[in-house]
């Protein structure tokens, strides 16, 4: 490898490591404003230094081997021997952060301490004496603001200079000061402890690198089993060492690990007394964050505030006449379809605007059609319900008048900008392609992509809202609130962090479960994490909210609430089985101070997610729709079928074979089956496939076709649509997330269990939505209503039955 210098970026969780990493390497790693985002170490090349690799390590509080993050970080620092450590420290919480710094310093590696958030420290009027900290910890100390990109490169370059020199640093704490060698690592313990450590150092000489010998000696003093095992210390060695440790414990009347912890904190306390001057004005006053937290983490108000914030997000995204709906309507019906009039350029022709002229034309068309069919009344049906919305008498005079009505030319009513769909159609007609090929492009390839792209405004609003909540610090509070709630049911809030990540995508959500040490809790988290609707599932919600629940926008917010409810209830039910029984894992969560998010930060988060969604429309939805168009337009003998012969198609047969499975859910047709199965490619494919398979329903738009499809399969189209949405939201996630689930589970048995559990939950929820919906809508009580109720009773028993004690391993 050409790179020869390794710089390790280490620090507490959520202190800004990944922000600094992105700034100094130009990477775009995800930065979450809650702890536990970085699960594995990540590499990047330092800007302007091709020979330097920076390693972003998971955030940790100490170098003890208790959590997965600590193990990953410690293994890297000890085994892979980086050339220097760039220790990032939260300047607003410096005292607590120094606990890790003292341990890092003991490793004996060249180290630069970058005190982050100095802009906030200065704003608060606090002062930190870098020189004193530098002298005490024997390392360089510099102030930076990773978010504002101040001092970040200087800190990194200082680490490179130290690495090249192989020296520990100046100890004078002056930014950019000359480097001079410091002979040793900090000594922070009392005489008797130092005496014992010195003896241990003697015993392990030659077995460990000399520069890290003090760190090893302290770990052995703490009786760190992993280190003792790795060094292969014999009974004789340990007997001698144990004598010194026990003498020390006797003298200080405490156990070895506590002695080290307490004395470390004493050292830090004394150092802070000398080097940290807090602004007297703010010293004992509650900060703004504290005051906000009193409300948003209040034991009774916290949950309603969280649900209200979800409602606000969905209202903005999908409520009738809300920004999301207005933009989505424009994108679906105008920008990606026929076209639109430039604002402020429209005018009336013959006293009518374009919409009124279109209505007249639709009525004229209906009149001609009815008269030619020999009828005396013409009517227009509502595309969603199939009900007659307008009916009038016709005669020969009306027929003749209707024949004269011409389709309105939009360019006469204002400046008309053709939509992409219209341009594609016109282009194909111009080059003279046949109707079948036009259908392949317009209904198949472009139709599917356009269905997905039409919801970009909704997705954008959801991602923007989430990025804002996350960057301002609220999402970390959500984890805290959920921990409090989950703990009541014997579950750990640590499991909720992957679920927060899952709001963007299920794949990193499943991977984030790695931070959970307990295998049972980890498996349970993997099973439950994808129940929070991800970005792709948001498209399904957005589509059904737009087509069926415009006036009930809260149905969209309800899907998130249902997701969280399943996590809680599913977790309780699983914990009561012998496979998942056990105590809830402890969860340490540090709440970051609230701050106004930066535009670039929020935009970066939003765009990174939106970009994936748009790329997916081209790379996944496009080929999938082309494939589906072919299997929908060819029969088994590969003969091309006309639009009226679709029932002979391969897709029709494949869908029909499994349609029975969906019948109790209200969409038991080949179209519903094809859409649901294709959603396993990528969840938003469900919407694209629905658009494709419903293309011949006779509606004017894709949305109208989908409404007509549900009206054709059920007497309760809204309930069938709700059931379809619920099923596709809560059954197993897309195939990539399934593959990751199998990998993270570590066994096929558990992988299949996760898939079966998710399929069961999705099916039962959809069954309830449809069957109980029909019952309450006065549609009667049938066999499947009874099945739904029986399954509900069994599920309630699984949740409410007495706790299991212990459980098998």
């Amino acid at each position: 490898m050409a790179n020869s210098i390794k710089i390790a970026l280490a620090g507490n969780p959520n202190c800004g490591k990944t922000t600094l990493f992105n700034a100094i390497t130009g990477s775009e790693q995800y930065v979450g404003n809650w702890p536990g985002v970085t699960v594995e170490k990540k590499d990047g090349v330092l800007r302007g230094h091709k020979e330097v690799v920076v390693q972003d390590l998971p955030g940790i509080y100490s170098l003890s081997p208790y959590s997965t993050e600590e193990k990953v970080t410690r293994r890297f620092l000890v085994d892979e021997n980086p050339d220097a450590i760039l220790n990032i420290v939260d300047g607003t919480n410096i005292e607590r952060n120094l606990y890790l710094s003292t341990q890092l310093a003991e490793l004996g590696l060249p180290m630069v301490m970058a005190v982050n958030m100095m802009d906030v420290v200065k704003k608060n009027g606090d002062k930190i004496d870098f020189a004193k900290i530098s002298k005490a910890l024997r390392c360089e100390v510099v102030g930076i603001s990773a978010l504002k990109k101040e001092g970040d490169m200087e800190a990194a370059e200082m680490a490179v200079a130290l690495a090249k020199g192989g020296e520990r640093g100046t100890g004078n704490g002056e930014r950019g000061g000359g480097l001079r060698k410091l002979p040793d690592v900090p000594h922070v313990f009392s005489g008797s402890v130092e005496h014992a450590i010195a003896h241990i150092e003697e015993s392990i000489q030659g077995k460990v690198p000399m520069r890290s010998i003090r760190w090893y000696a302290i770990k052995i003093f703490e009786r760190d089993r992993e280190i003792i095992r790795d060094l292969g210390l014999g009974v004789g060695d340990m007997k001698h060492i144990e004598e010194h440790i026990r003498d020390c414990e006797k003298e200080l009347d405490d156990d070895a690990e506590s002695i080290i912890t307490n004395q470390r904190y004493d050292f830090i306390k004394k150092l802070m007394d000398k080097s940290l001057a807090l602004n007297e004005k703010h010293k004992n006053k509650a900060t703004l964050s504290d005051r906000i937290d009193k409300i948003v983490t209040h034991r009774f108000l916290a949950l309603p505030i969280f649900i209200l914030s979800l409602c606000a997000m969905w209202w903005l995204a999908v409520a009738e006449n809300g920004p999301g709906t207005v933009l989505t309507d424009w994108a679906n019906d105008e920008f990606l379809a026929d076209g639109w009039h430039l604002p402020f350029t429209t005018h009336e022709v013959d006293g009518k605007d374009f919409d009124a002229a279109q209505e007249d034309f639709a009525k004229a068309e209906a009149t001609v059609k009815a008269w030619e069919a020999g009828e005396k009344k013409a009517s227009i049906e509502d595309e969603e319900t199939g009900e007659v919305s307008d009916e009038w008498d016709i005669d020969e005079a009306a027929y003749k008048a209707a024949k004269e009505v011409e389709e309105p030319d939009p360019s006469k009513y204002g400046v008309w900008v053709p939509g992409i769909g219209a341009l594609v159609s016109a282009g194909l007609e111009k080059v003279g392609v046949g109707e079948t090929v036009k259908s392949l492009v317009v209904d198949g390839a472009w139709g599917g992509v356009a269905t997905v792209l039409g919801f970009v405004p909704v997705i954008f609003i959801v991602f923007l809202f989430l990025a804002f909540l996350e960057d301002c610090g609220y999402m970390a509070r959500v984890a805290f609130i959920m921990d409090r709630l989950l703990r009541k049911f014997g579950l750990s809030g640590k499991s909720f962090i992957p679920m927060l990540i899952g709001k963007g995508c299920g794949v990193p959500a499943v991977m984030a479960a790695r931070t959970i040490e307990n295998e049972r809790a980890r498996r349970m988290t993997v099973i439950l994490a994808t129940f929070v609707p991800c970005g792709a599932k948001t498209v399904i919600i957005a589509m059904f909210a737009a087509l069926f629940f415009r006036e009930q926008w809260y149905v969209a917010a309800l899907m998130d609430v249902v997701g969280i409810a399943i996590i809680i209830l599913g977790g309780i039910a699983l914990k009561k089985t012998r496979f998942f029984a056990g105590e809830a894992a402890s969860f340490v969560l540090e709440l970051p101070a609230y701050h106004m998010p930066t535009f670039s930060g929020v935009w970066h988060h939003t765009w990174n997610r939106l970009k994936g969604y748009i790329i997916k429309a081209g790379l996944i939805i496009f080929p999938a729709c082309v494939f589906l168009w072919f299997v929908m337009h060819f029969d088994w003998s590969l003969t091309l079928l006309g639009d009226e012969e679709i029932e002979k198609s391969i897709l029709h047969d494949l869908g029909s074979w499994i349609a029975w499975f969906f019948s109790p859910l209200g969409f038991g047709s080949w179209q519903g089956a094809a859409a649901s199965v294709s959603a396993e490619i990528a969840k938003e494919q469900a919407t694209a496939t629905l658009g494709l398979v419903a293309a011949n329903m006779g509606g004017a738009t894709t949305g109208a076709n989908i409404q007509a499809f549900f009206a054709s399969v059920s007497a309760f189209p809204k309930l069938a649509a709700l059931s379809f949405m619920v099923f596709n939201l809560f059954v197993p996630p897309c195939m990539v997330a399934i593959a990751v689930t199998f990998r993270e589970m570590g066994s096929k048995k558990w992988g299949w269990f996760a898939i079966a559990f998710q399929l069961f939950v999705g099916y039962v929820l959809a069954l309830n939505a449809y069957q109980l919906g029909i019952l309450f809508a006065g549609g009667g009580f049938g066999l499947w209503t009874a099945v739904a109720l029986l399954v509900d009773v069994w599920c309630a028993w699984m949740v409410l039955r007495p706790d299991r004690k212990g459980g098998s391993k």
């Binding site: 963007g504 990528a682 990539v736």
Partner: protein, 48 residues
């Protein structure tokens, strides 16, 4: 089928094949916002 139609069909199939090849090679694009180890490229190949 006329020449124009043939060219359009070949173009559509070629782009679809290219998309499949790219996904197989680089991984699945997703909305993770680079929160998994995809290095900011938004491609998750089996989550690696």
């Amino acid at each position: 089928m006329n020449v124009s139609s043939a060219i359009v069909v070949v173009a559509v199939i070629a782009f679809a094949a290219f998309a499949v090849w790219r996904v197989l090679k680089k991984g699945m694009p997703c909305e993770c916002g680079s929160s998994c180890c995809c290095g900011g490229g938004c491609y998750c190949k089996d989550g690696k």
